[in-house]
């Protein structure tokens, strides 16, 4: 109990004094995660919508695979991205290993199936509602996808937030491809892992509280901007 209290105090102290290292790590966490969420959403949301409206031969298998990929082990993703980006790998020439870009790539791979799967389920519901109308209005496939994404935007925001939640708390993959290098690729989760390894539980807990606070703040801010709970909105 004492350590939790100490951690809380340490976390508060770091926040109140705007500790430069904490600010740097927090901003990097946000930069990496938000970039990954934006890229992942840009891929996953149209794909989820396309999957909802399109009928093709192996559709069921594709959906089952997509759902299975939601549980993609981050460490394995990290390992594969590491091998691809390492000097001897096919993309080694790009020199991306141990950079924030490598961390973003790993996070995009982890969260895209999650966002796409949730988006697919949300859009499938709206599609069953809108199907006859959109066919009757002779909409093109692109118009249908755009309409479904727009009208389902609040549900899709939840999909993106789920991706954000998974990415901000991720440690395995980004530790492998980022390397937890101070002032370069250290983020909140890898810093917590490091401090725990060093036995500095108070600081680790403090960083943990900051991480939780950050995740809550982003979710609340997103809901406020999207006005999800305001009267008559979806």
């Amino acid at each position: 109990m004492g350590e939790i209290w100490e951690g809380l105090m340490a976390g508060l102290w770091l926040v109140v004094t705007l500790d430069p290292d904490l600010v740097e790590i927090t901003l990097r966490s946000l930069q990496v995660t938000l970039t990954a969420v934006v890229i992942g959403s840009a891929i996953a949301l149209p794909f989820g919508a396309w999957l909802a409206i399109r009928r093709f031969r192996h559709r069921r298998a594709t959906i089952a695979l997509l759902n299975a990929l939601m549980g993609l082990p981050p460490v394995v993703v990290g390992l594969i991205v590491y091998l691809l980006l390492s000097r001897s790998g096919p993309f080694g020439v790009l020199g991306l290993l141990f950079t924030p870009t490598a961390m973003i790539i790993a996070q995009v791979i982890i969260i895209t199936p999650l966002i796409a799967s949730i988006a697919h389920q949300s859009i499938r519901d709206i599609w069953s509602e809108y199907h006859d109308l959109l066919i009757s209005l002779s909409t093109t496939k692109r118009q249908r996808i755009a309409t479904l994404i727009w009208d389902g935007r609040r549900a899709l925001m939840t999909a993106s937030l789920a991706g954000f939640g998974r990415a901000i708390g991720e440690v395995g993959a980004i530790m492998i491809v980022g390397g937890n290098i101070d002032h370069a690729t250290r983020v909140l989760t890898t810093a917590i892992a490091l401090e725990t390894g060093k036995g500095d539980f108070a600081l680790a807990l403090g960083l943990g509280f900051v991480l939780i606070g950050l995740a809550i703040a982003v979710n609340v801010a997103t809901h406020m901007i999207g006005r999800t709970e305001s009267d008559g909105k979806w």
Partner: protein, 238 residues
Amino acid sequence: MVTSILPLKMSGAVVKRRGKTLLGPVDLTVSQTGFTIVMGPNGAGKTTLLRALHGLERLSGGQVQWQIPLRDTLQRQAFVFQTPIMMRRSVRDNLAYPLILHGTPKAAAYALAADWAGRIGLGRALDQQAPQLSGGEKQKLALARALMRSPDILFLDEPCANLDGRAIREIEAILKSAQAGGTRILMATHDIGQARRLASDVVFLMHGKIIEMAAADAFFGAPKTPQAAALLNGDIVE
């Protein structure tokens, strides 16, 4: 000069689902003017017939022929469903949606939406979310959304089911006005009184087949089939 998409000819049309025949074979010609009422008991194939004519139902046999290529007809047809489909948008955006979709500038589409909202008594509800409207308001909105594009032909699938007298009267007034404006109307209904008020001709369906087709006066005055006579007498027809 714009070529009319009518008359519309359906010949030998059959609709099957999972091996069961829902409609057909049906032969039907829809002329350029008039108000056709499609009648028949539940499961007779009224909805399937309208959906097949509109292109929402894939034919298992036969064909539907328009005067211009099929892909060009869709923008000149409109369909109002029994349960109105309300997009998760405001009344204004629901009305403007089909116009913007087909290239009308947003400002012009919104102006027309405001005009139509006023005509159907929803002028003050322009910014209200459409799914929050009452049943009658939703149906009027769906009707206005269909008519705003001035379709050559309008299909209506029991648009007044579950509505009260006032809402029915308002919807019938809109339909009469649309017909006067040159829109050909095909409407399915169970309501004999409504059919008498609106029909110029009647198509009577039983078990997926047209068993009687006549001008309204002839149908209501001297029905040729015992089933139609029974229906008009208020008997239960199955």
